[in-house]
Amino acid sequence: MKNKLITYLAAFIFLILLNFFLPRLMPGDPLLAIYGQEAALTLSEEMKKELISEMGLDRPLPVQFGLYLTALLHGDLGVSYSLNASVWSVVGRTLPWTLLLVGSALILSTFLGIILGIESGWHKGVKRDRWILFLVIGVSGLPNFIMAVILLLVFGVQLGWFPLGGALTPYSGWTGIQLVGDVARHLVLPVTALTLAQLSETVLLTRSSMLGSLDSLYIRTAVGKGLKKYRIKYGHAGRNSLLPVTARLGVSAGRAIAGALFVEVVFAYPGMGSLTHHALLSRDYPLLQGIFLVMALTIVLANILADRLAFRLDPRLRED
């Protein structure tokens, strides 16, 4: 547990170091690299001077790093010049949408993945198993944004069942249940794309641990006791197969957040993925760095939460 925390901390520090050193080691004027060419060109001489002294760009690297860390610890992520707002406020506005999207996809893919994995493992080698594997591997073998494009073309453009993009119908003035319905309708396609992309890992993991469980003696005992099939399947073997899935939940969360980067762009979903896209196109580096820092923090927190959950569910983890 402690070991893992150190690993997470190190990963976060690695990202901070990357954020700090990448622009400063680029050839040319560091101010241009930190703020991006376009933004830096519009700065007046006085503002440039002020920024240089604020970040200590005329002083040695260790001093700069100290100033950088101090700013970070105060929650100062800098200013986004393309949006004319503080990075923190912009990221804070988009974060809830991404969390909604990623959270829904994670819950769905875990739930569906476990059921499919249990079914597939129970019926190992039979037609049903082969079909599940074929579909899951085939579908999840595609990049998530390809999945998103296909869903958009079929259910958005051709059939017109779902909105083509965004998270809300603009200026609808809806409140209460209508608003919730509207948000849900916009959420369907992006969540489906992300869920399908996440699914295979959970299915394969549950399936293989299911195969392991089915060989054990307690299952034979359960069969011998004459328990009903579904109780053995879900109550005995299935329940035990949850543990590896829980243990990897943190990794899945990280992957889903990274997946949202692409899926959001396809559906113009107003979360951190679309914001990243905007930052990349306008070369708004402070914004990009801020987004990735918040993302990394979210991922690390998700990992810690998942570890705690696995720790509670599996007494064997507590013994080491």
């Binding site: 990202l15 896209h277 990009l288 760095q289």
Partner: protein, 284 residues
């Protein structure tokens, strides 16, 4: 051992389909672009032209021939896939076996690095780095490979640790074989099936990432890639051009990934069926 292995993989139905598809695509993307009658980068005044005898898949918003771009994009994917596949497999084998053979601090250092670098999804770090460089294909290969060996190194290390305990390794050591000789003569040959698997895994990952980076627009805009084709075509989804612009690109990308996935799947099935230790690398 590796010879018998390479023969037996062909018995797997999935591998046969995958290998056939793979060879077809390999030919198409390596030879195809040289036979084209259009320069894939050249713009013209005939924009949004539907498929015709001249432009097999029509033209895009700036009058470029879509078919030429499709094949050239395939070549970009192929180059990145092979480059990343080979470099990251070599890195994985070198670092993984070094950790397993040396043990102690080298083992700790390498495995700790792997743990740390795997916490934040690689694609995030890759986007961050590429955003400063807007890389060409060669640089892109290096950046993706730099993070592409992590899971592979873990698997290689585990494999070597298991193999090291076999009797014939003890025998070789007893006869005075050096660490390096044992590794080179006895362990490395047994890693070949795993290396093939890692190569496929790396290629698949590379196609994913290359398309993804081009899709969100962080690579050199002069590089013709399926990812950027898809993101451009997506802007015009309300026109009917998607049928010969977006769809073939999505199809080609899916088909390429399918080929690699099928070969890998067949390989894994074969190895678990022949009673060997199941190759178990986490899917990227």
């Amino acid at each position: 051992m590796s010879r018998r292995y390479s023969l037996s993989i062909v018995q797997q139905k999935e591998s046969v389909v995958g290998i056939g598809l793979g060879i077809f695509l390999l030919m198409l993307f390596s030879v195809g672009p040289t036979l084209l009658s259009f320069d894939p980068g050249a713009t013209s005044l005939t924009i949004f032209s539907p498929p015709s005898g001249m432009h097999w898949l029509g033209t895009n918003d700036v009058g470029q021939d879509i078919f030429s771009r499709l094949l050239t994009g395939g070549r970009s994917s192929l180059i990145v896939a092979l480059g990343v596949g080979i470099i990251s497999t070599l890195l994985a084998v070198t670092l993984g076996s070094w950790a397993a053979m040396a043990g102690r601090w080298a083992d700790k250092l390498i495995m700790r690095t792997v743990d740390i670098l795997l916490v934040i999804p690689n694609i995030i770090i890759i986007i961050l780095i590429t955003s400063y460089f807007r890389p060409s294909l060669a640089l892109e290969i290096i950046i993706i490979s730099f993070l592409g060996w992590l899971e592979g190194a873990r698997v290689v290390r585990m494999q070597i640790l298991t193999l090291k305990e076999r009797a014939h390794i003890y025998a070789a050591k007893l006869f005075g074989a050096s660490q390096f000789y044992v590794f080179y003569r006895h362990l490395l040959p047994q890693l070949f099936p795993l290396m093939l698997f890692l190569l496929l895994q790396g290629m698949r990952r590379a196609v994913f990432i290359e398309a993804g980076l081009a899709f969100i627009g962080v690579v050199d805009p002069d590089v013709i890639s399926w990812g950027s084709m898809i993101s451009n075509a997506l802007k015009f989804y309300y026109l009917e051009v998607w049928a010969w612009w977006l769809l073939p690109t999505v199809g080609m990308l899916s088909l390429s990934l399918l080929a690699v996935t099928l070969i890998g799947y067949g390989l894994e099935e074969q190895s678990s069926r022949s009673g060997g230790k199941k190759i178990n690398a986490a899917d990227s």
